[in-house]
């Protein structure tokens, strides 16, 4: 049924595009407007070898591949697009429900100054996403697009209204629930532009309502078929100051994700949910300070009450911790706990000016960051009837520590040819909850001290050698969390087209003598304009890979991989 649906929709989109293309050749000379077809492709494939020592499993297919192609057509105020995805079979570390191939995204859109209408797969975000965000992240195979209709209107200056309805993508099908949403935003300064033109303070207000509908087929429980969620936000800006805050609430929404266990028995939780997020900053040339905070209580919001992991999420709960890019600081990343957490982050960045003692000839950049996340402190109400609340929380009390990260980074250019980055991080991670979602699991808490030195020597205008040295000291008697690591990386870019790199990750602190292993990995790549091909060979440790706030676990692997990306 669904295949048929995708095929017919593809034919329709294709015909529409062909028609418009034929039409546009006539109109081309008349209007000086956008008229283009563009796209991009990505193909990843890996050949897997079993390696019992590092824990790389047997892959029966030997080779696995992920591929997708995206094509967009734009003609003046009209645009349309399709995406084809193929997993034969899906690579290790991704959800195995991505199986086979097909058209997974197609849309048509018309927009002018007053109205903007889209049909098909829609990506949209209300406010900071606490109530609604659909997006696509190919690196994680995350796609929760809404297949439906969206209308955006700007009826009067300063006002934007959005309305949408549809079902969400779930692998190669759609989720069971209907999602409906409405969002309004008012930029006060734009509405009263003549009256307020001398006022330096800018204020933007917004509000959203999102509701999902799913039939109750449970024989035992009376489950709400419609679940509403609503909230408001404001953004105030004056000079270098910026303040954003959003608060949302969700009606009772019993689901697998908020399943509560009371006295050894599992109950659907009819608890309401709420979330608060704020971000405030002051920035001036050469100095900035950022404060972020959030509190989340029972805010897993999905268009299927039985969905798990990253499937069919309607909202997005941003993590307020430092996003790391180096390997070892990103070894144990933090992921937002939708059932309940409170957390925050403070960051100061400044530039030591040129010509000062520390700054030298080129100046020096310093970043200080501290972030923390704790559980909430739920107090059981001890009402074992499943029709009411199970717990209450308050804003003053926090539960146990989930994560912290104290971080300092210094970047300095020593000469025209030589520059370096130096960082230190002190990280705490409650691995049981943050990574395994098992509060009483065996993994325990891990404290890590992490250092990174990253040096670049640019020996010719287009040629450079880069070296990274990283260390992470942890409890070396901890058999589950593998103890300490050291990483060395050497990268050579002889010109702007090629790169060659070698990396060795050494688990010298593994409590098991036999498992004190080197994971050596080589890679090389070629880039030409928008085209890029890279090859790699070697051993990769098991790990967690995150983009934005979403993470996936990747098992250890040993083998050869190729990746091609291209856009036109």
């Amino acid at each position: 049924m669904l295949k048929k649906y995708f095929k017919s929709s593809l034919t329709a989109t294709f015909l529409l595009m062909a028609l418009l293309n034929a039409f546009n050749t006539k109109a081309q000379s008349i209007a000086d407007e956008v008229n283009s077809v563009h796209g991009y492709f990505q193909i990843d494939a890996q050949y897997y070898k079993q390696d019992t020592l590092i824990g790389a499993p047997i892959v029966p297919e030997k080779m696995l591949s992920n591929a997708f192609g995206n094509i967009n057509y734009t003609k003046g105020k009209f645009s349309a697009g399709v995406r084809y995805e193929a997993y034969n079979n899906v690579m290790q570390g991704f959800d195995s429900r991505y199986k086979g191939q097909g058209i997974t995204n197609r849309f048509a859109r018309y927009q002018d100054e007053l109205l903007d209408i889209t049909v098909g797969n829609i990506y949209e975000q209300f406010g900071s996403g606490l109530l609604f965000r659909t997006y696509y992240e190919p690196g994680l195979l995350f796609d929760n697009s809404l297949d439906g209709i969206r209308v955006i209107s700007n009826p009067y200056k300063g006002f934007t209204f959005k309305g949408l309805v549809g079902k969400q993508r779930s692998f190669f099908t759609l989720g069971p629930g209907i999602v409906r949403g409405f969002d309004g935003e008012w930029n006060i300064n734009e509405t009263f532009d003549t009256l307020l033109q001398n006022i330096k303070t800018k204020v933007i207000l917004g509000g959203s309502f999102v509701s999902k509908n799913q039939a109750d087929e449970d024989p035992d429980f009376v489950l709400p078929e419609n679940v509403g969620a609503y909230g408001g936000r404001m953004n105030i800006i004056r000079g270098g100051f910026n303040f954003f805050a959003e608060y949302v609430q969700k009606e009772n929404d019993p689901s697998l994700a908020n399943n509560a266990v009371v006295g050894g028995k599992s109950y659907y939780s009819y608890q309401q949910g709420d979330a608060m997020f704020f971000s405030t900053s002051y920035a001036t040339k050469g100095f900035s300070i950022l404060l972020q905070g959030k509190r989340i209580d029972n805010m897993s919001f999905r268009s299927d009450r039985d969905a798990t992991l990253q499937n069919l999420l309607i909202n997005y709960l941003p993590a307020t911790t430092k996003q790391h890019t180096y390997l070892l600081p990103a070894y144990s990343p933090y992921a937002t706990q939708p059932t309940g957490e409170v957390g925050g982050m403070a960051e100061i960045q400044f530039k030591v000016p040129k010509g000062s003692v520390l700054g030298g000839k080129y100046g020096m950049d310093i970043t200080l960051n501290a972030s923390q996340a704790n559980l909430l402190k739920p107090i059981n109400i001890n009402d074992s009837t499943t029709t009411s609340k199970l717990y209450r929380t308050n804003y003053e009390e926090f539960g146990g520590e989930l994560y912290h990260d104290f971080f300092i980074e210094v970047t300095k250019k020593f000469s025209k040819k030589f520059k370096g980055t130096f960082m230190y991080a002190n990280q705490f991670n409650n691995i049981n909850i943050v990574q395994h979602n098992t509060p009483k699991g065996p993994y325990g808490n891990v404290l890590s001290h992490i250092e990174v030195i990253d040096l670049t020597y640019k020996y010719k205008a287009n040629s450079a050698i880069r070296m990274e040295l990283q260390g992470m000291q942890r409890d070396n008697s901890d058999t589950l969390n593998l103890g300490s690591w050291v990483v060395g990386l050497l990268e050579w870019t002889p010109n702007t087209h090629f790169f060659v790199a070698a990396i060795d990750q050494y688990n010298y602190g593994n409590p098991v003598e036999l498992l004190k292993l080197h994971y050596v990995y080589f890679s090389a790549g070629y880039t030409n304009g928008p085209h890029r091909i890279s090859l790699s060979y070697g051993k990769q440790r098991a790990g967690i890979f995150c983009v934005g706030g979403v993470c996936r676990t990747v098992p250890a692997s040993n083998g050869f991989a190729i990746s091609i990306t291209s856009s036109f």
Binding site: G529, G548, F568
Partner: protein, 171 residues
């Protein structure tokens, strides 16, 4: 399955037959200014001079290296060719608040916009950041480059100079 591949091939063929020789205009997508108000990317202009559009994110190390490297010579670049750099941040709600603090503390003098749910990124077919585009004086996209390695900014500037003089570009 065969039908799908055939359809894709045909659509791709359309891509190459449509007039791409002179490049295409920037698609009109709504992005956010640092003051929270909205602007259409269709209004990007630089008075007949070239524009560099650079997609970046606060968590992307190579992106920031590239923008730092350009900043060192940006005053000379603008003086010599009149070029303007527009930096498009693809940071989502988690890090969008960090865009303004990064830009100011690094002292970047670019025009910066936030593409919070990647609408412009998708319309420009950007897969990974950094991804850099060159737009000519008439507003047409004439060159693009994915990723950053040391020295890429010099190559970019060679092309900006060629563009300002009306010469053919190289990759």
């Amino acid at each position: 399955m065969k039908k799908i591949i055939l359809a894709l091939l045909v659509v791709t063929a359309f891509a190459f037959t449509s007039s791409r020789g002179d490049g295409d205009k920037i698609p009109a997508i709504t992005v956010k200014k640092l003051d929270g108000s909205k602007i259409s990317t269709g209004t990007f202009a630089n008075g007949g001079k070239p524009i560099i559009i650079s997609f970046w994110a606060t968590w992307c190390k190579p992106c920031k290296k590239e923008l730092d490297a350009i900043q060192e010579n940006y005053a000379d670049w603008t003086k010599e060719t009149g070029v303007k750099l527009i930096a498009i941040s693809i940071d989502d709600a988690r890090s969008a608040g960090k865009v303004v603090t990064d830009v100011k503390s690094k002292g970047w003098e670019y025009e910066v916009y936030i593409d919070e749910n990647s609408d412009f990124k998708r319309a420009m077919n950007v897969n990974n950041v950094p991804h850099t585009f060159l737009v000519d004086g008439s507003g047409k996209i004439v060159w693009s480059h994915n990723s950053y390695t040391e020295g890429d900014e010099e190559k970019l500037y060679e092309n900006v100079k060629k563009l300002a003089k009306g010469e053919a570009l190289s990759h």
